[in-house]
Amino acid sequence: MNESRHWVLLTLVMAALPSFIRLPWWVAVIGLAGGLLQYAGTWRRGWYGRAAGLVLLAAAVAGIWFSFESWFAGDAVLSFFITVVFLKWGEARTRRDFLLLIFAAVILAAVGALSFESLLNLLHMLAVVFALTLSLIAIHMEGGKPLFLVRRAGLLVVLGLPLMLLLFLTFPRIPGPLWDIGLAFGLPIKALMDRTPGDHGKATALQPGGVQLAKQENNNVLVAEFEGAVPFKSRLYWRGPVFWDYDGENWTLPDDWNDRGRLLKGSIRSKAQLDRILHTRDTPVRYTLRVMPNGGRWLYGLDVPAAPAPESMISEDLQLLSIRRIDDFEPKLQMLSYLDYSAGDRLSPEQRARALAWPENTNPRLLALGRQLAGEHRDAGEIVHQVYTTLAAGGYRFEQAHIVEPGANLLDRFFFDEKRGGVEYLAGATAMLMRAAGIPARLVSGYRGGTIIALTNFVIVKQADAHAWVEIWQDGQGWSRVEALDIVAPPPEEKSAAAKPKETPQPATVVEMKQEGQAAEQPREAKREPKAKAPAPRPDKGWTLPDWASVFGSMQKWVINYNPDRQMELLKGVGLPDSNWADLLIGGVAGVLGVLSLYGAVAWRRSRKAMDRVARSWAGFCRRMAKQGVAKTAQECPRDFLARIRRERPELTSAAEDIVGRYIDIRYGGNHDPGAAQLFRRQIERFLSMT
């Protein structure tokens, strides 16, 4: 036990090292002081030793009180955990104590990995697991020598690495917090989440930075179960409040936005009515919607709902609204939506005026740009294209956390000066630019995308998916969506675990916009490339060294971003296009068994080799003697065999005597010297070549 405790200490220190560096200095001090108590011997077991432990614990509590804002902040809990683990090491004596400690060390390393994700961290993790293996061997073995322990642990880890790789690649991944899975399978949403007063969609005004605030909340908004494949995440727009009015800073809803009578009057209650409004519609999607109680009426239907569901209506802005307030019940609706559409019958003069309104004396530069665009281009599509080009080529960056200083001419400052910010600036500026160019535009808030629960058709939408986008009016086509975000920050490649892309013709306008978007992206890419290459020049050394930094960088990306989609891609690469998680699991298990049996076969061969060479050579000798006319019978012992050789083939006696003597010595005389076996085999070879 006494030698193994040092290995345990090594494991602990190694596991806690990144946390020591990150956390306040007193964590390391208290931890190491607690650890020193282990060396205090019998002193530790007396009352003063225990008192010292208590004092250190109290110091840790005090440190947490002074260093952290909350008792339950992540780092506070981690600090406490580390100090307790090291104090425990200080008093550990039994095998069970040490086992507990090394397991705690691994958890510690894992928790440390939550805060950084890099390849360096992976190496650290490998080192911790190696130390764990070493400690396990040391704990369970009396008097193991360090070199022996290191070699054994190294062998275990090295043999384990291929298995790890196999499991890593093939184990079916279930993304997302585990409680989401319970949610998907029928637990009521509100049982899992507290109601939050500040529901993003319920707010009557969209303020700068509002989406960022909403995104910080990690509460669930709705769960949708799709029939059939889940569409691409980037195409899921969950429609919330629609804003027409901009006062220069905030987008606001009219005062009577929540008036039930007005809503009912303007609402679309029948499918026929809706069909009249929808000019084009495509990609129907059926799903079951469950919305978390939010205190308002928003049901966040998928854009655009094809028909109202019971107990609900569709407003004139095409939002799905509940007739009752969603206070403490969880609406569950069977819905049909069209992902591709353009809608709108006609725009009344007052609506047109609202959709073109420009607050007096604000954002002059944006207004001027819009007017310039309107002068250069006639067609709304061309203007949209022009705006996309500007966004793509203008060096805009999407930074949700960046807040543009509130005040006058906010959008001007965003669009022309800072060029970075959250989605509300981007959408707001786009909408206002459209208005300046004479195209009626409005802002829609809601959610985009969601989390697909792997292996299922469930999508969970959280506050973090909050989004805002623009809709513009074109006469004869109605409202259609303009997504500025995809130009600035292209959406992740459109892949979905369960989806087979549907080959359906899309409405002309959408297709046009998409192509324009892609076309607009290219110049930006071209412009960026030289920048990326700039720090690359290296002195040429005759033979080029591989660029380790880039190799590690891409490996790091690959490892850290490995996900179910990549998993499927990999399988396709292997030649299994239609695979599901069961295939993955079966493949993984088969692979693991294969590798294990390979190890077994190698070990078996290695253990047999030393023994069987002697037997094999002896059998060769016996065969040759049989050819010479003296066949050894099964029951004949070597000495009798030799006696028979002496009688029947006296000329072979001297050679046979030597061989049989060696054989008896090796097999029965207890001579395990490998040199003797080698000599024996050489003698037989010589015999075989002579006769």
Binding site: A109, A110, M125, L136, M141, V559, R623, K632, A634
Partner: protein, 315 residues
Amino acid sequence: MSADSVSMRSLLQMQLRWPLKGRRLRLRLAPAGWGFLGLIACGFLLSINFSNNLIFAMTFLLVAIALVGWWFTRANVAGLIAADWRVEPVFAGQQAVCRLEVENRGGQDRYGVRVGARGLPPAGEARLAANGRAELALRRPAPARGRLPHLAATIRSAFPLGLFEARLPVGDLPAILVYPAPRGEQPLPELQANRNAHQWREAGSYTDMRRYAPGDPLSRISWKALARFDELYTKEFDGAQGQAALWLRWSDVRAAGVEDTLSQLCRWVLDAHRQGREYGLELPGTVLPPAAEEQHLRRCLETLALYGTEEREGA
């Protein structure tokens, strides 16, 4: 040819014998293994919950190491060959030491090998060198006189990780005779027997001549016979009268219960034997006539150990 077939046949027999006799190597999770399993479960929960690939990698590495460790543990015990158990009778309150010689015919060293049986304290671990053999000992407490029953025993090892324990069944622990604990303050009863001990080893009048057997004292060898027949002969005599033989009687013991009486008798038997005297044992229902050999001592002790147990078993 023949050697090949022989080795093949023995190999086949070795392979076949395992499952047929229920002597298969089994692995089970050791307590540390359950802890490790918990650790892996924690790792999975963490990695799935935070969708963190690093923790996934770590968890899979832990799984992989456990699997490789499983294999190593298995290989560490597989193919060991055990001889039969050897054990000496003990007195109640002592520990019987059961010894088993184990041979490692493989080319790899085996570590942390020990023998174990259900309910017995763990034995010390031994290392078996490649192609070597070692004697493993298992201590079995013997709290009361009588016969300790057979007990299934296994060769065990948790090397290297201690997560799994491999168990290779070997022959059962033999039944162990437990003599009563020698206790009691009464001195040996004197001169109760009607006859004196006969000491065959002492000289007396010449009776016979027989062939020499190893161990016979040199002074008894008939040198005349050697000169004549060129072979060794030993002269035999009728022995001498030694000290008086003792009768160790149940009725002479002043003790409260059966066990105390047996303990006192056991004490007497040992004392008398140490003094080299001839003694007889008289228990209710059993009488062993006086004698003085080692074998007699064992018979006496066995009678004491099993006194009353047959009837109990019968009832």
